[in-house]
């Protein structure tokens, strides 16, 4: 779908990020020659660049400035220093966003998606998640299927969002609960069970049967395996 360029000299990290981004259906290029970054940039013509601040020869800020001379392609800085000065400098140097190591996959995903959407999607498009015809509206927390539109509670929405973001992969109960906690909802085991049961009942009412499957002992899954 999109072409993403990663300028990171720690190969293992770059490779891990590459796997993730390729998993979302994008084409990824890893820069290996840190003296001729510009050449690679022109060849590959990426939609988005992930660049580490600490690099051999020249640092990330330098490359960003160079890239900005010829292009306004979105740039996300990666760094292990997350203190404010670094973030300010990154933005002042023409960066669009900043992510601190070690980062959460969800955060990386969210930032990349947000920037791609902001830069390349047409105005007016609503952020959604889709599976089997069911459309989850990320703005107003509703689920639409065929003609019906369901209002979801915050908990139900978060659970469904997490499941759909990881469609085709099993999501453990712990992960779901952690996601709710991170939204200041300190649920316990049985609360989660209750929420999922209620959610299932709700979506069954609009005709989606067996949308959320249980994998005993492991968690829940949405979509084909």
């Amino acid at each position: 779908m999109y072409r993403i360029m990663i300028i990171e000299d720690e190969f293992s990290l770059a490779d891990a990020i590459k796997r993730q981004i390729e998993g979302w259906g994008n084409e990824v290029c890893l820069v290996k020659d840190f003296q001729n970054v510009m050449q690679r940039f022109i060849e590959f013509d990426p939609h988005l660049i992930l660049i580490d601040i600490m690099l051999p020869f020249y640092n990330g800020y330098y490359w960003c400035t160079e890239i900005r001379k010829v292009s306004s392609v979105p740039v996300i800085f990666i760094s292990s220093a997350s203190d404010n000065m670094n973030i300010v400098m990154a933005i002042n140097m023409g960066g669009d966003d900043f992510i601190a190591k070690p980062f959460d996959l969800n955060v990386l995903n969210a930032k990349v998606q947000a920037i791609l959407r902001r830069t390349y999607d047409l105005a007016g498009k609503v952020p959604i998640l889709e599976q089997n015809g069911a459309i989850l509206n990320l703005n107003d927390m509703t689920l639409s299927y065929e003609e019906a539109k369901l209002e979801l509670t915050k908990n139900e929405f978060l659970i469904l969002q997490t499941l759909m973001e990881n469609k085709g992969k099993v999501v453990s109960r712990n992960t779901l609960m952690t996601r709710l906690w991170e939204d200041d909802c300190y649920v316990e085991e049985n609360t989660l069970t209750v929420n999922i049961t209620r959610l299932r009942k709700k979506i069954e009412q609009v005709g989606l049967v067996d949308f959320i499957k249980t994998k005993t002992g492991k968690g829940y899954i949405v979509g084909k395996i």
Binding site: S12, A16, R19, K101, P102, S172, T175, W181
Partner: protein
């Protein structure tokens, strides 16, 4: 383990004795320079001269007597001499007194500049002065060396922390690919490694002075919620619930350090609680309470939990702690001025309380 605690107790005792001596010396030393005392010292210092002078008078009076010199001549000479003395003596004494005062007032300074040391008169005074100058120079060099060493250390550890975050990031990405229980547990341990790495930087930053703090008004609830969020996966994996009573308080403090303090205490609470809940609430004061239903702390250990490197003793295998977290809490207390208190009953739980009385802002 038993041996190290005896060693620590001995050092403490020595330290206490020394402190007592210094205090007594300080009390003996007057803060004011009393003229009478100085005059007494003056007389004592020049007693040799005075003594020789008295001998001189006695010898000459004796000789004049024996030679039957005119009493008037002797008397006249003596009077003249005493008049001279009356003029010269006070001048000499005042000079002496002023010099003493100057030197006396230089005492107790933490920093002495070379040009502040008064001039020396005479060989002996000069010897002392030069000795003093040598030592002042040594101190300056030593201070400078220590400062450079410390800056080097901070730089080294900062780099180290940044380096170690990369493999942690890689591992996180790999583990997040498949959401299994094992991966979840591994991810949890990874974030603990990350937490310890961050503690290294906090340790160095704790040497900050008050002027490095950024004091603003913050919502205490927001700070608490961010701390809970950061520990969410630990809570969930251990199956501990949280009881959070909204405080609706505003505090005037440095957000970074207060967050750090609450996080460390929360970390400690989760670490030592296997089941049950952790309660976060505020009480009249205000005091912020973080209470757990964990294994608790023995009474003998309570006063020592904030010591650097204290790991609990008596071979209780379940009491493992590197003694860093709570030590850093204590240092943060000194920095922020928010005393922390602990109460605990083994087997029932522990309650930490943060005294926010100095940081409290009245609600509008």
């Amino acid at each position: 383990m038993g041996n190290t605690s005896i060693w620590r107790d001995n050092n403490k005792r020595q330290g206490k004795n020394m402190a007592k001596e210094i205090k007594e010396y300080g009390e003996k030393r007057n803060t004011k320079v009393s003229i009478i005392r100085v005059f007494a010292c003056y007389l004592r210092q020049y007693r040799f001269t005075i003594f020789m002078y008295i001998i001189f008078i006695l010898i000459f009076r004796g000789v004049f007597c024996l030679y039957q010199v005119e009493k008037e001549a002797v008397f006249y000479g003596t009077v003249l001499y005493f008049l001279l003395l009356l003029i010269v003596l006070p001048m000499h004494f005042i000079h002496y007194y002023l010099k003493h005062k100057e030197l006396f007032e230089l005492k107790g300074r933490s920093y002495l500049e070379v040009k502040q040391i008064p001039d020396a008169k005479g060989l002996i005074e000069n010897d002392y002065r030069e000795l003093l100058l040598e030592w002042v120079e040594n101190t300056v060099k030593e201070k400078s060396r220590l400062r450079i060493y410390k800056e080097d250390s901070i730089e080294f550890y900062s780099t180290w922390v940044h380096q170690i975050k990369t493999p942690i990031a890689v591992m996180k990405l790999w583990l997040q690919e498949e959401d299994t229980e094992e991966n979840g547990r591994l991810l949890l341990e990874l974030s603990r490694i990350e937490q310890y790495a961050d503690m290294v930087l906090s340790y160095f930053r704790l040497d900050a002075t008050a002027k490095d703090l950024v004091i603003r008004e913050y919502s205490l609830d927001e700070i608490i919620r961010s701390c809970i969020r950061r520990h969410a996966s630990w809570f969930v994996t251990k199956g501990i619930s949280v009881r959070y009573e909204k405080t609706d308080l505003k505090v005037l403090t440095d957000k970074k350090w207060l967050t750090f303090m609450i996080e460390q205490i929360l970390s400690n609470a989760i670490k030592y609680t296997d089941e049950g809940s952790i309660t976060i609430r505020a009480e009249e004061g205000p005091f912020l309470y973080i209470e757990d239903t964990g294994i608790g702390i023995a009474k003998e250990d309570l006063p020592r939990i904030f010591e650097k490197g204290f790991t609990g003793y008596n071979g209780r295998a379940d009491k493992k702690s590197t003694g860093i977290g709570l030590y850093l809490v204590k240092r943060t207390v000194d920095l922020l001025g928010t005393p922390v208190n602990v109460q605990s009953s083994p087997g029932q739980g522990t309650a930490f309380s943060i005294d926010l009385r100095k940081n409290y802002m009245e609600l509008e």
